[in-house]
Symmetry: C2
Subunit: 343 residues, 2 copies
Amino acid sequence: MEKNFRVAILGVTGAVGRELLSILEQRKFPIAGIKLLASKKSAGQKVRFRGQDVLIEEATSQSFRGIDLVLSSAGASVSRELVPHAVKAGAVVVDNTSAFRMDPQVPLVVPEINPEDIAKHKGVIANPNCSTIIMVVPLFPLHRRARIRRIVAATYQAASGAGAKAMRELESQSREILAGKAPTKEVFPYQIAFNLFSHNSPIKEGGYCEEEIKMMRETKKIFHDDSIEVVATTVRVPVFRAHSEALFVECERPIPLDEVRLILSKAQGIRVVDEREKNYFPMPVEATGGDDILVGRIRKDPGKENAFALFVSGDQLRKGAALNAVQIAEIWAGISKGEAARR
Amino acid sequence: MEKNFRVAILGVTGAVGRELLSILEQRKFPIAGIKLLASKKSAGQKVRFRGQDVLIEEATSQSFRGIDLVLSSAGASVSRELVPHAVKAGAVVVDNTSAFRMDPQVPLVVPEINPEDIAKHKGVIANPNCSTIIMVVPLFPLHRRARIRRIVAATYQAASGAGAKAMRELESQSREILAGKAPTKEVFPYQIAFNLFSHNSPIKEGGYCEEEIKMMRETKKIFHDDSIEVVATTVRVPVFRAHSEALFVECERPIPLDEVRLILSKAQGIRVVDEREKNYFPMPVEATGGDDILVGRIRKDPGKENAFALFVSGDQLRKGAALNAVQIAEIWAGISKGEAARR
């Protein structure tokens, strides 16, 4: 008999929380009971799940009794406060915030890359940053083949990364500007409609913003390779919910371009979209709602023998967040082995 | 007595053509007479210039008699057909298309970089591609100091680069999508509103598109340095008229970061926008309508001693096209010396 799990979703009213619900339903995760948790403000609302209306409860330290699995996506400060209580109550937490990602006790997992790390958990398994996931899924099979030494990344990040309110702000500002009005700024510090700006996370050491530092550090941890260099410029663009990235990759060894294509076309979690004659390559509108990260513009670097360039798009709310978390939960639950990138 | 010039604008109804008119007016270019040329379709329309209505005439091989200076921006095929007639008639042509840029007889000029090349013209002076100009203006003073060896560039290019119709398409598609309708595609091959896509120029050698190849080749020619490597990924984004670029630059020698800042803050044609504590950096809405290229996110590469990263935004229609052309014309006319980057 298959085991069914008592699952709690922490932060169910957010953009990722809603996606978690829909992915659990879609993938038929074996659920014995579901508990929907959010802030006091949202408690009392109802959400549809598997044909039933489920009441949202206020998340407190007492919310986790009898829960097997928590999928957490309510922000780093909420995770820091509540996740220890969930672990104490005996639950396993797949945490989608930055709270525990760099904790050496906590595995940081992308199922296509390091599923074996899940077994090492001590109650918490961390889900990487969305920009990191979208970058590393297509790069890992190439890293295995030719050992990546340096990644230069420029991102084109959707409004969804800043939550459901930010997506509504892109919509409302677009309407205002098209009506000849000044855009109202509430979520983002600068106009997002018909504009773009450097990712609005705090600037830290060396002038890099937190988002860029996450890409640098998380990649090393996920690949188990501290010597890999990542330098990134992260940018918010007026797109609703898929992130794109221009990647320039230097390896220890050369790989023929045909082999890069072959490796990518066989890897899990990726779809090659690379029709040069039609100028048809990855686009956020086509990545939106899908599970795969789209990969294209596959070409050699004209100046470096061991280097190549790619352009990728992936749904920030799905593979960049909720889908990756549910895939981790599936491996933890023994439903999937998370076979890494068809090694 | 100052000399006044008989000026023709070829392609006056386009996005760059209109900007040329407004910049000539703004900068009080010494004009003895103006001739406005466009396709047969636009002939007969009137355009306001210096308080007068000026009739648009059809551009033909006979249009250039008595003209001193032609500012040409009607597309490469029109330039290839008509520019030789203008030169034969005794005019000097500042050409804003790709038609003659790589011709060894034709100087390719950015006034802040190589104004001395203007004197070598044989009738035609070429204006570089917009993405190239926006990249090289901030990089040249750093190249002079530390010899740039490699540039990795990812662009965020506005609709204006594809002309006035493309800007209207961004607007109309945005309205359609906000009204829940499917976007109508006429100018761009793919949806531009709330989306982005690899630059829609034909893919050529090595899988690089024409726009990327322009950035690679034109940089070598403008810098008079064939050994400089440029690798670019060019992307169209839903912004009206300023291009942005994430630049990763490797030099022969290290430059302390304070000196990078100092050099940029003193250089011509640039404004440093780099307030880390406010997360305030270059944005297309702030570059729009201005003459300067905004430069920020100035930081060292974490992995390479001699390398640094920047983020820039510049008005594609002004410095990326019309302003650069008028600045070339001013140097040619002896009005300005085009002092290079305050050497």
